[in-house]
Symmetry: C2
Subunit: 224 residues, 2 copies
C-alpha cells in the first residue's frame, strides 16, 4: 500500500454523502487520490462526486451504492451514524474480505450526545469487529476531528488517533492520513478505540460550554 | 471556595507520597497553598512534607495518615493506584461528607497498562461514586498528566479535563487548577470521565511507540 505512488490508491467512503464523509472526500480529492463515494442512494453519491470533482479539479471521484464503493477501495472508510453502523457494515462485509476498513463510528446516543454512553459491546470498534468478522482488516480512527476541519484545506489544528490489531493495516491508514495532511498517531489496539470514541462526547461538551464554533480538537503534546 | 484568597485553601492529597501525589503536592506548595499530605504510613507523609517544605520554601505542608489528611482538606485529591482505589476511598469516606473529593484514578490493569481495560463498573469514576456515596462531592480529573509534568514548574504543556455532576464542586476544581498553573476544562458529567481514564492507556501506548521520555499529553485545540 505504502509503495504505490500518489494517486494510485483508491479510497472508498461508505456513507460518503454525510458531513464527515464529505469532508474526508474533499480532503482526499485535494490530495490527488481516487475516491469512490458510497451512499444508500447511488444517485446522491454520483451528484456528490461530480460536485467534489468540480471543486477540487480532481476527475477521479465517482459515486456508487455503498457496497459498490467498498468493492473499489484499497482502503474503505465507513462514516455513518452509530444507529446505522451495524447494518451498514453487514451490507459491505461480503465485498470487504481482505480489505482495510476504517470505521470512524462514534457511539453517540441522541439526544444526549455530550454525555458518554458506551454500547453494551464496550465500544463502536467492538461492534464493528463483530459485524465485519475476522476476514476484514479493521482499523478505527478519525473520531475526534470535526467534519468542518476534515473538509477544510491544510492543517486542521488537531491530531488523529488510529487504532487496530492488524499493525500493517494500521500503518497503511496512518500513512494515508499523513498524505492528506493529517498528523496521525498509532494509538494501540482496537481495545483502545473506546478512548477516542468517548472523547468525542467530551469535545461536544467543551464545544457547548466554551462556545467553540469550528469544533474543539485534540493535540498530542510532548512528542519530540 | 473561589472567593478565598491565595493560600487560604487547604489541599489534602490522599496517597500523597506516590509519584502523582508528590508532583501535585510540589505544584500546590509552589503556588503558596497549604497542603496536607496523606499516606498509609504517616511517618512517610511527614518526611515527604518536610522535604517539599524545604524545596519550595512553603512551611504550610504537613504529613498525616490518609484519613487525617482528608479531614483537613477543603479539596481532597486521591492519587492512589487503581488496585487501592476502592479501599482507600472507603477509608476516607467517614471524614469526607460534604467535602470535594477529586479522584484521579486511572483504571490501569498491569501488566498491560497500554491497553484499555475498563472495570465492570464502567469507569474508575463509577467505582469512586459507589465507594464514596452521595454525601461526598465527587469530581474526577488529572488523568492525562504525567507525574513528572505535574511536579515541574510552570506550564506542563498539556491540559487537564475535569468531570463531575456537582457543577459547583467541578468549578472549584477547575479554578484551583488554574491557580496552580494548569489549563483545565469543564469536560462534563462523571459519565464522561471514562474518556480521560481510557485515554491514559492511549498516551502510554504513544509514549512507548514514539519514545516520549517526559510523557505525552493532551491539548484541547480550537478554543478561541
Amino acid at each position: 500500500m505504502q509503495e504505490k505512488g500518489i494517486g494510485m490508491e483508491r479510497i472508498a467512503i461508505v456513507g460518503g454523502t454525510g458531513a464527515l464523509g464529505g469532508g474526508l472526500a474533499m480532503r482526499c480529492a485535494r490530495a490527488g487520490l481516487s475516491v469512490a463515494i458510497g451512499s444508500r442512494d447511488p444517485a446522491r453519491a454520483e451528484a456528490a462526486a461530480r460536485e467534489i470533482a468540480v471543486q477540487t479539479g480532481n476527475p477521479a471521484i465517482t459515486g456508487h451504492d455503498n457496497a459498490g464503493a467498498a468493492a473499489l477501495g484499497d482502503i474503505v472508510f465507513v462514516t455513518v451514524p452509530f444507529a446505522s453502523q451495524a447494518a451498514t457494515l453487514a451490507s459491505i462485509r461480503p465485498v470487504c474480505a481482505g480489505r482495510i476498513v476504517v470505521d470512524t463510528t462514534v457511539p453517540l446516543v441522541p439526544p444526549k450526545v455530550a454525555r458518554v454512553q458506551l454500547p453494551a459491546e464496550g465500544s463502536a470498534a467492538a461492534v464493528a469487529a463483530a459485524a465485519l468478522g475476522p476476514e476484514v482488516r479493521l482499523v478505527t480512527g478519525l473520531h475526534n476531528i470535526s467534519a468542518a476541519k476534515l473538509g477544510q484545506e491544510g492543517d486542521p489544528g488537531c491530531d488523529v488517533l488510529v487504532f487496530g490489531d492488524d499493525v500493517e493495516a494500521r500503518e497503511a491508514v496512518v500513512g494515508l492520513a499523513g498524505r492528506i495532511g493529517l498528523r496521525a498517531f498509532h494509538a494501540g489496539p482496537l481495545d483502545n478505540s473506546v478512548a477516542a470514541e468517548a472523547m468525542t462526547s467530551v469535545l461536544i461538551s467543551i464545544n457547548r460550554r466554551y462556545k467553540v464554533a469550528d469544533g474543539a480538537g485534540l493535540r498530542i503534546t510532548g512528542i519530540a
